[in-house]
Amino acid sequence: MPPVLSVKDLSVSMNGTKGMVPVLEHLSFDVAQGKTMALVGESGCGKSMTALAIMQLLPEDFRVTSGSILLDGVEVLSASPKELRSLRGDKMSMIFQEPMTALNPLYTVGDQIGEVLRQHRGLSRRDAHAQAIQFLKAVQIPAADKRVDAYPHQLSGGMRQRVMIAMALACKPKLLIADEPTTALDVTVQAQIFDLLSELQDDTDTAIVLITHDLGAVAELADDVAVLYAGRCIEQGTAHEVIARARHPYTRGLMACVPHLQLGRMSNHASAELDEIPGMVPPLGARGPDCAFLPRCAFAGAICRAQPQPPLDRIDAGAAVSCWRHQEITP
């Protein structure tokens, strides 16, 4: 079966004051039905830009400069505005990081979910309202038949994010893009939302692109992972493989610098120092041809300075990495 989403060699540039600046370079990945692909990386690495490119919602000044994005066999990049409108919602939809700003404060949540249904499925107002209640129930909002008439500001952050999910899933899209869906939420609520997403996925077989910097969430939800650094994919593979055996120094650094919770008697918090990745992600326009991670990399050697960044190199079925020294580094 062909993948629901197939991104090939996608590059995006920004038309800035100093000419075209690369934002995303040669990104490729597939997501199959019912599978979850996680995009991870620090702020500014291009995760949201990938999502917006797929949705064709890039801000002005940003252009896709190469590549193709096939959604269910249809080329998104050459779709007309009219085709795009029906693709969005019908075939793909997106939930955003900040559920407050993504909902219209002037309409009840029921109206907003109903609107999607009426537009894409031609339901009558009454049917749409009834369906909206069903969707709110599906995302486990208590007292859904009352909450359907609530305005966004009357709901808590967790409930708003549930409403966003209900809206995104209203037309049973084949692909759901979730851009840090829980960053703005409390930990207990985060856990609930992740559970909800994976339950809904089991029911509907939706393909999910999950953008996150929470590696715990990746381990729990994702089937595959792509690690982005400065607009380039530097490691890709099955979630299991990448988490168990990260090969790129950046991925390893990301995992080492998170203080993981340890439970039980042996919990020893006196671990003095966290491993840290020094420095920061190079800003747009300051990214040369050599390995973008070079200034921060503890393993950088002569070859890294002499050669441009290596292409993503498939190591085995489960992993690909872009690093000159991955063989020496990986135990």
Partner: protein
């Protein structure tokens, strides 16, 4: 923002922009220079100011002297014609501009000083102080401004000073409300709390921390207040409540208003002067606004 990522050999913790950016004030000035409306407005206003400052001595005609027959239409001797007493209108414009522009500027300053003081105290302290000051502001706001100014001028005498003060006193409430809103928004921001934690007292917080950050919209409204004050002065003089002893554009309008049908130039030129000045000022206001709230300032 340009940042140079050093390709230092050792991992670099401290990649910083190579040089300090201009201060936000300088950046705003530069932005202003790029706004066509603002630049046109500024040039016109500058021209008006120079004309009223140096014009009278260059032109050399006393605006109170009889320069020709009453109601002489514009001709080679009296370029803009004469009024009902035969006084030279151009000389009047050059001389009267001083008073008009000064009244505009000073009244706007009064407006802003009163408005900002009351608004900032109300917004910063909140609670009963806010309630009291807001009540006062509302009281002044419901009084019809022109009527109120007329009462003030009638009570305290028709001098330029009274007129200026009256205009300031009736126009401050909107500035106060604007300032109060900005202060309410800003006073709870972390950097204000951070300053308090650093040992700042209320005076320091109001004047040096909150006010500078509240200034942008206040500056825009101050610019517009000048225009409003000029119109106001015109209005009062037109109603015969200006200072009869000081030549101003408004006074010229007022004294000649009965002859508009027989001698259009007696009213049209002062009217046009007011119009151009107010237009220039509102263009400047636009430019300032663009400079301070760049909607589409580009990154990268």
């Amino acid at each position: 923002m340009t940042t140079i990522e050093s390709t230092a050999i050792k991992p670099d913790k401290t990649a910083l922009p190579v040089s300090a950016a201009a201060s936000p004030t300088m950046a705003a000035l530069r932005q202003f220079a790029r706004s066509p409306a603002g630049v046109v407005g500024a040039v016109v206003l500058l021209f008006l100011m120079l004309a009223t400052l140096f014009g009278p001595s260059i032109y050399g005609v006393d605006p109170l002297d009889i320069a020709g027959a009453p109601f002489t239409p514009p001709d080679a001797d009296t370029w803009l014609g004469t009024d009902y007493l035969g006084r030279d209108i151009l000389a009047g414009l050059l001389q009267g501009g001083r008073a008009t522009l000064t009244v505009g500027g000073v009244a706007a300053i009064i407006t802003i000083v009163i408005g900002v003081t009351i608004g900032s105290l109300a917004g910063f302290f909140g609670g009963p102080i806010d309630t009291a000051l807001t009540k006062i502001t509302e009281f002044f706001q419901i009084l019809p401004p022109l009527l109120f100014a007329m009462v003030l001028v009638t009570l305290f005498g028709q001098t330029l000073t009274t007129v200026t003060i009256a205009i300031g006193v009736v126009s401050w409430p909107s500035a106060a409300r604007l300032t109060r809103a900005e202060f309410l928004r800003l006073r709870n921001l972390d950097f204000v709390k951070a300053s308090r934690a650093a040992g700042a007292g209320n005076g320091h917080l109001i004047l040096l921390v909150v006010l500078p950050n509240a200034l942008p919209p206040i500056i825009v409204s101050a610019t517009l207040a000048i225009g409003v004050a000029i119109l106001f002065e015109g209005g009062l003089s037109f109603l015969g409540l200006g200072d009869p002893n000081t030549m101003s554009w408004g006074l010229m309008l007022g004294q000649n208003r009965n002859y508009v049908l027989n001698a259009w130039w007696t009213v049209a030129f002062p009217g046009a002067a007011i119009f151009i000045a107010v237009l220039a000022i509102s263009l400047i206001g636009d430019g300032v606004n663009d400079a301070i709230n760049p909607r589409l300032r580009k990154r990268g």
